[in-house]
Symmetry: C2
């Protein structure tokens, strides 16, 4: 792929894209918490409503990230924008129950790392609930609301995966919203999203966790004391939460499987030629070229 | 392994460990260049002699890292400490030719990432050349003398792999030397060194290169534009030089093979259970525990 894989999201005037007044966020982790903080900064007159466990909500109220907290979805009945920011299978579950709670028109989006499953599930929503799948690519070295930051999305892609041409107005309002909190909204198909992210995000995560498990089991605590920066950087992702990642794997298994196969194939080629190193030289040359593209990549 | 895998190196008084007067370094990359700078800082009266290609030497003279430069090993005849800091198979080749150039007594060490091959080769050295294998664990995000730094080894382990109890005085002098440039000298067997480093250093390197090659081939330039911090950190090592790493693989293939097997086995377990995720949860839990040990590890 040498042409861009995303399209810049279309801008819209204020007539087409009135700002949201009541923004409800379900799940106040790193992403949901950062959206709350960014929304309060960009839209001081909007009301920010959050749903999570009580201890997370207490924390969010204490740092003044939200206006209203609830551990019950009934509070969503009041929102004109609902952002599902829990692990993807929880988002799917909440999406299916939304019409019980939300009777007035509302725009729904999510922040899940996989998009096909939730885009498909959203086709069953009633007319007054308008869903556009979303995936902000902001990220940080550590998760949880304690690491949330209003600038987490600044300059970073926020991918939307519209389901055909339906719901253009909702998309334009979401584009205006995410641009207001500093992100660079882009659109692409849910299918392409899941295939790309299987390699760009899901494979590095599984690799880091597998590497850390293999090394730890082999060398133990005392051996790890001799580790250098290489192992530390390569395994940074290995502290990621299993809950979130088992949801991602369950909803993208058909794309993650071939991605794992591609990596295992290269590792086996290296393994079969360690003493001679012909294949090692080729793979290091390819990897070096891609790494140069990665660190010197143009804006999305 | 829960007991320490290295022993702190024994200190020695100045009678046993007279400082080196003429330090020759063969190979002025990140490690050799940093040793040169650190030696000049710690031993202003010592003479630092370097052997490398002419352009590297010109660079080193310009930044005042060395006193004397040569692209010919004849210059080693003058040194009382010779440090081989080229890729390991070049170090092996030079070691075998040393007696042609060095007639007076000298202590020889190296900085190679594998130790069994060079320790075995050193058994053929004549009496007046005393070899102790070494491996400084300093490292930086980028290689080459342009990134060399006199503090590269400060507080970092410098592993020595003495061949039995021979050459105690040479070891004590090297311990005093490396301690003077800020390192924490430790000793362990060459066999254990190569087994541990296969997991701690060589496996992360092969993994990062294989991952970068797999991802780049699948998503291309345009796909990489969407990559986030996870892929960037996990593949940091992927720009490492193939020359150095084909030498490491050639001299540690028997330990790196089983390390690759252990990683491939875990990746295959993940691959076989993506939709259910039972094994994923177990592996993420193990990886999370080892990662916590790694980032919170005690001093070596």
């Amino acid at each position: 792929m040498s042409h861009p894989v995303t399209q810049p999201a279309r801008a819209a005037g204020p007539d087409r894209a009135p700002a949201f007044q009541r923004v409800a966020i379900v799940g106040l982790g790193l992403i949901g918490g950062s959206i709350a903080l960014a929304t309060r900064a960009a839209f001081p007159h909007a009301r920010v409503i959050a749903v999570d466990n009580q201890d997370v909500l207490d924390n969010a109220m204490r740092v003044n990230a939200i206006d209203e907290a609830a551990d019950d979805l009934a509070v969503l009945g009041d929102a004109d924008l609902i952002i599902l920011a829990a692990p993807v299978r929880q988002n799917l579950d909440i999406l299916r129950r939304l019409e019980t709670y939300v009777r007035q028109p509302a725009v729904i989006t999510d922040t899940s790392s996989t998009k096909r499953a939730i885009v498909a599930a959203a086709r069953a929503l009633p007319e007054h609930l308008t869903f556009i799948g979303g995936h902000p690519l902001g990220g940080a070295a550590a998760g949880g609301i304690d690491h949330a930051h209003p600038d987490l999305f600044r300059g970073r892609p926020w991918l939307f995966t519209p389901d055909g041409d339906a719901h253009q107005e909702a998309l334009e309002r979401l584009v205006a919203f995410t641009r207001s909190i500093g992100a660079d909204p882009r659109t692409l198909d849910a299918e392409l999203h899941d295939r790309l992210l299987a390699f760009l995000s899901h494979l590095p995560q599984l690799t880091a966790s597998a590497l850390m498990a293999a090394v730890g089991a082999a060398v133990g605590d005392a051996g790890l004391a001799l580790a250098g920066r290489g192992l530390v950087d390569t395994t940074r992702l290995a502290s990621s939460p299993a809950d979130m990642w088992s949801d991602i794997a369950a909803t993208n298994a058909d794309e993650m499987g071939p991605a794992l196969d591609a990596l295992i194939e290269i590792l086996q080629q290296l393994r079969g030629d360690l003493a001679e190193g012909h294949r090692l030289r080729e793979i290091f040359a390819e990897a070096g070229r891609w790494r140069a593209v990665l660190v010197d990549r143009p804006p999305v």
